[in-house]
């Protein structure tokens, strides 16, 4: 029966006995290793297929006409001339897609194409399908739209003014409501006023977080094809195929079972592809109407206007502390500048307060957040959704408190460490490696020799943070699993993992493969992973809120363990030992009690064959749902921000500030991140470095701004990759990733998230480092040379005024 030729790629062969003993002694075989990815070589050889790489015979190209007005009624749209252009097949407008949509079921305020009104420059108005892109673009010029301009608001405080409510950006959802306000959340935990009155130190300041956008290098792209059998197929650069699937069916009035959504390789997302977009509805409807496949590829300019990036926030923070270094009270007031549509805004409003409290012990906490509509591109979730902005304000506040208490800011943070248990807003934290994170960055950065010791112009700053590993509740309420995985095991030794997670470069496909290797003992190249095709894989909700590792990972472990159990049982029967004694690892099944035994050692494929003979075809499904008992408070809103597990991060940033030019150079960022168990340290480092890069860029370079002049009002200021400055290889500081592993009981092998948490402290750590360097607090982002230069001059002027007085 033994035929080793069956397995030419088996990793343990001639030196099997010795190696198998090592394997038997290792806690994990694949988990924790710096393994290859499942798709890396496809990406580095140009084989990986992204949406725009796909083409179909007879495919039409479509283009979207966008509003030139920031806020206006549409009086008429005349497509006659466009339709008359040779090569034009169809033109659609808002009336053809009247069903509103929105990623949050309670706030559907968008139409694929504007219906009656446009609300920002760039709002979609009409869509043309033509034989090629050039013809479609030419046809856009021929569509006549008559607008009646309305007053528009670029500043949320202007939109909040009484007169603005007379012609609101959206109709009020209820009588008496202000149509310019999407959501206000006010929550209080503990007696804030009473505690604040007892504070020995009270720090109160205003902070401003500018807006930034995701800027994936791949522009959004979607293709739809209507088949003769009534199946609508869609390929889209999305990170939420499941939600797209539902919304396409709902808005087009199709049976959801007759829609298929496929997510090809995605060239970066970062939250910018986490809801349905106009182009997806347009290609779907045009495919239905024309019977031809239809593609839309956004221009780079359209990517900037589609936005859904980080909300600008004006934040007022009051933090009260006792002389012995306790945080007695935190009181936050926040205005979120939402742009023209809701997007995830309802959740963002909650997140701006709910995600702030860990890793610190805070006696009492209150927040009051209001998300306001403005006539700009809609804001949404960007890596670290809703919580990067308040973290900026809070961590600077903590630095100020520490200074007022004459404490080292790392010492102060150690003193208020919450450990595990409940946050002040009642979230359950079961693992917390924040102390190790602090220790790690303190040592690695040489903090004690640098803080307040580097001389004028150079400095270090510290900040901490916490983030969620998935949301405890799905976006649309339902009791079904949040994640599911199907695993097939074949007699050749090949294992197939079918899962719904969205691989967007973060490594979710690879992670599922590592789990299959760990549980079933096969080499990595025996595993095939298929994901994010709604016709092939079980439902998963998508790549957002850092949910994939914990949720899909747990589902994958569950499926693999069912099959692993059958295989071990069959092998154990054959050898007359206990199933628990059989180990599947390194391409073999072997007796873990006697790894050297040639009698009790079997190539893994033969072990699978034994199980298949005994149990029939091998396949299993696994699923995961979040724990519902005792994970959050029972107050209204208490579920939002609750997560099965929380990650923790600490940064130390070292900067150099040139007082003459205002130029801030970030030299090094040390990042320690508690990701539970690192399933692949290389991928975790990649997420840490990428997060810190993105945060650093938001601090010193990037800003999504709009022109305000009379004749150019509300135009995006810099809708290109040249003008919107994302860092090049020359702009990046050195990143030092440090992994901390506090094993969480809820995560697969103890794992938590790593993709978003490590971004948060970048900005406040840099702000605190600038203060250490030049002694000036700058509480408004970004720290571009003009602003820093102005802050230095203002401080000098204030100082000399003081001296004169």
């Amino acid at each position: 029966m033994r035929n080793e030729d069956l397995l030419p790629l088996q990793e343990v062969t001639a030196d099997a006995p010795e190696r198998l003993r090592e394997v038997a002694e290792a806690e994990y075989r694949t988990i924790g290793g710096r393994n290859r990815s499942t798709d890396g070589l496809f990406k580095s050889t140009g084989v990986a297929v992204y949406t725009d790489d796909i083409t179909f015979p007879g495919m039409l190209h479509a283009k979207i006409l966008r509003s030139t007005e920031p806020h206006a009624r549409i009086l008429s749209i005349d497509p006659a001339q466009a339709l008359a252009l040779p090569g034009v097949y169809d033109v659609i407008t808002g009336e053809e897609l009247p069903t509103p949509y929105g990623i949050i079921p309670w706030t559907p305020d968008e139409h694929a194409l504007a219906l009656g009104k446009v609300r920002f420059v760039g709002d979609a108005v009409a869509c043309v399908a033509a034989i090629d892109e050039e013809t479609a673009t030419a046809a856009l010029e021929l569509i006549e739209v008559e607008y009646e301009p309305l007053p528009y608001y670029l500043d949320p405080e202007e939109a909040l003014a009484e007169e603005a409510a007379e012609d609101p950006i959206h109709e009020p959802r209820k009588p008496g409501h202000n149509g310019n306000i999407l959501k206000r959340v006010q929550l209080e935990f503990g007696p804030v006023d009473e505690k604040m009155a007892k504070a020995d130190v009270l720090v109160e300041d205003e902070y401003f977080f500018h807006g930034t956008t995701h800027t994936p290098i791949e522009p959004h792209c979607a293709i739809a094809r209507m088949n003769q059998n009534g199946l609508l197929e869609m390929w889209s650069a999305t990170q939420v195929p499941h939600y797209l699937h539902r919304e396409i069916a709902r808005v087009l009035g199709l049976d959801v079972a007759k829609v298929r959504v496929v997510q090809p390789a995605v060239g970066g997302a970062f939250g910018g592809k986490s809801e349905p977009f106009d182009l997806e509805f347009c290609v779907a409807l045009l495919a239905v109407r024309t019977g031809r496949p239809v593609k839309i590829l956004y221009t780079r300019e359209e990517v900037f206007y589609s936005h859904r990036g980080r909300h600008p926030m004006k934040m007022t923070y009051r933090v009260g502390a006792s002389s012995d270094g306790r945080i007695l009270a935190v009181d936050a007031r926040t205005i979120l500048d939402g742009g023209a549509y809701a997007s995830f805004g309802l959740v963002t409003t909650y997140y701006s307060g709910q995600l702030l409290t860990a890793p610190y012990e805070i006696d009492s906490y209150r927040f009051d957040s209001t998300r306001v509509y403005t006539n700009k591109a809609p804001c949404g979730p960007k890596r670290g959704h809703g919580s990067v902005q308040p973290r900026f304000a809070f961590e600077i506040s903590l630095d100020k408190v520490a200074e007022a208490l004459d404490l080292d800011p790392i010492e102060f943070r150690r003193g208020v460490f919450m450990g595990t248990g409940r946050t002040v807003n009642e979230f359950r934290v079961q693992s917390n490696g924040f102390l190790e994170c602090l220790e790690s960055v303190e040592t690695a950065s040489g903090w004690k020799d640098k803080f307040r010791k580097m001389g004028y112009g150079r400095g270090v700053g510290v900040a901490g943070s916490c983030y969620i590993s998935g949301t405890n509740y799905p976006i649309y309420p339902n009791p079904m699993p949040q994640a599911a995985v199907q695993v097939q095991v074949e007699r050749s030794g090949r294992v197939t993992v079918l899962h719904g997670a969205s691989e967007i470069g973060q490594g979710s496909d690879s992670t599922m493969a590592y789990i299959a290797c760990e549980e079933l003992g096969v080499p990595l190249d025996y595993v095939r992973v298929f994901s994010a095709d709604t016709d092939l894989v079980p439902v998963d909700l998508g790549a957002y809120s850092s949910r994939e590792t914990v949720m899909v990972g747990n589902a994958c472990v569950m499926a693999c363990r069912q099959i692993g159990g059958l295989v071990r049982g069959s092998v154990a029967d054959e050898w007359g030992i206990e199933p628990s004694q059989v180990r599947l690892a390194g391409g073999w099944a072997f007796d873990s009690g006697d790894p050297a035994s040639p009698e009790r050692r079997l190539p893994i494929a033969q072990a699978f064959q034994l199980a298949e003979a005994g149990h029939g075809t091998l396949g299993a499904v696994g699923h995961y749902n979040t724990p519902k008992e005792g994970v959050h408070g029972e107050y209204r809103g208490g579920t939002i921000g609750a997560s099965p597990a929380y990650s923790f991060t600490a940064h130390v940033a070292e900067v150099e500030v040139d007082p003459d030019s205002g130029f801030v150079e970030v030299n090094t960022i040390w990042v320690a991140h508690d990701c539970g168990r690192a399933l692949n340290p290389m991928l975790v480092e990649g997420q840490i470095e990428g997060s810190a890069y993105m945060g650093c860029a938001e601090a010193i370079l990037e800003e999504q701004t709009y022109k305000t002049g009379e004749h150019q009002g509300a135009l995006h200021d810099a809708p290109s990759l040249l003008d919107y400055r994302i860092p090049t290889s020359l702009d990046c500081p050195e990143f030092v990733p440090l992994i901390v592993e506090s094993i969480d009981p809820e995560g697969p092998y103890g794992a938590k998230e790593a993709g978003e948490g490590p971004l948060h402290p970048s900005l406040p750590a840099i702000a605190n480092a600038i203060y250490d360097a030049i002694g000036i607090r700058i509480d408004s982002l970004p720290f571009t040379p003009d602003r820093v230069w102005r802050a230095i001059r203002d401080a000098e002027a204030a100082k000399s005024a003081e001296e004169v007085a």
């Binding site: 990815s37 990406k43 580095s44 140009g46 090049t728």
Partner: protein, 193 residues
């Protein structure tokens, strides 16, 4: 207006019909199906379209295709020798230098151009050589590392996998580090000499 032109791509001489306004990138992607080179901005800002012309990196999205006539064009699809990935391509996977992978083809071409001129580049030289290629995922660190490992491999002839295994002291260079036997010169017929 349409035209038929002859291009030299990845060792092949190819006749292709194109609209006369096409860029080199449009020709590669939409006329020839060589979709490895990517379009990120279509105006020369991001570098995702970078290809090699006579061994030097060029932006294909702002190059009228007529300018490429008579030059040896190499795209990401032409870097490997048959089924053996170029050490750069292998190192990018081994180091996690390709996350979403969209900028990767352009970065590989820029790095290839660098290593052709400088077999032992310093990190600063790598930073400069890649400064026209935007990556949004990695923060560049793993990319620098991959280029260094590829350079070492090209200098010493060592397999990139062995260099990585040594650098990280990997106890089990597991099968995942050795997915296939990379035998140089294998897969006859697929090699573009």
């Amino acid at each position: 207006m349409k035209d038929v032109i002859t291009l030299h791509i990845n060792g092949d001489e190819i006749e292709v019909g194109i609209p006369t306004h096409f860029t080199l990138l449009e020709t590669l992607r939409y006329a020839l199906g060589l979709t490895g080179s990517k379009q990120g901005c279509d105006k020369g800002d991001c570098g995702a379209c970078t290809v090699l012309l006579d061994g030097k990196p060029h932006l294909a999205c702002i190059m009228p295709v007529y300018e490429a006539i008579g030059h040896q064009i190499t795209t990401v699809e032409g870097l490997a020798e048959g089924r053996v990935p170029h050490p750069l391509q292998d190192a990018f996977d081994l180091c996690g230098a390709a996350q979403c992978g969209f900028c990767t083809p352009g970065i590989l071409c820029s790095a290839y151009g660098l290593l052709a001129e400088n077999t032992d580049p310093s990190r600063d030289e790598i930073r400069r050589a890649l400064s026209g290629n935007l990556c949004r995922c990695t923060g560049y660190t793993k990319i620098f590392e991959a280029v260094e490992i590829a350079a070492e491999s090209l200098r010493s002839g060592a397999d990139p996998r062995d260099i990585v295994a040594e650098r990280y002291d990997l106890v089990f260079p597991s099968s995942s580090m050795r997915p296939a036997k990379h035998t140089a010169g294998s897969s006859a017929g697929a090699s573009h000499a």
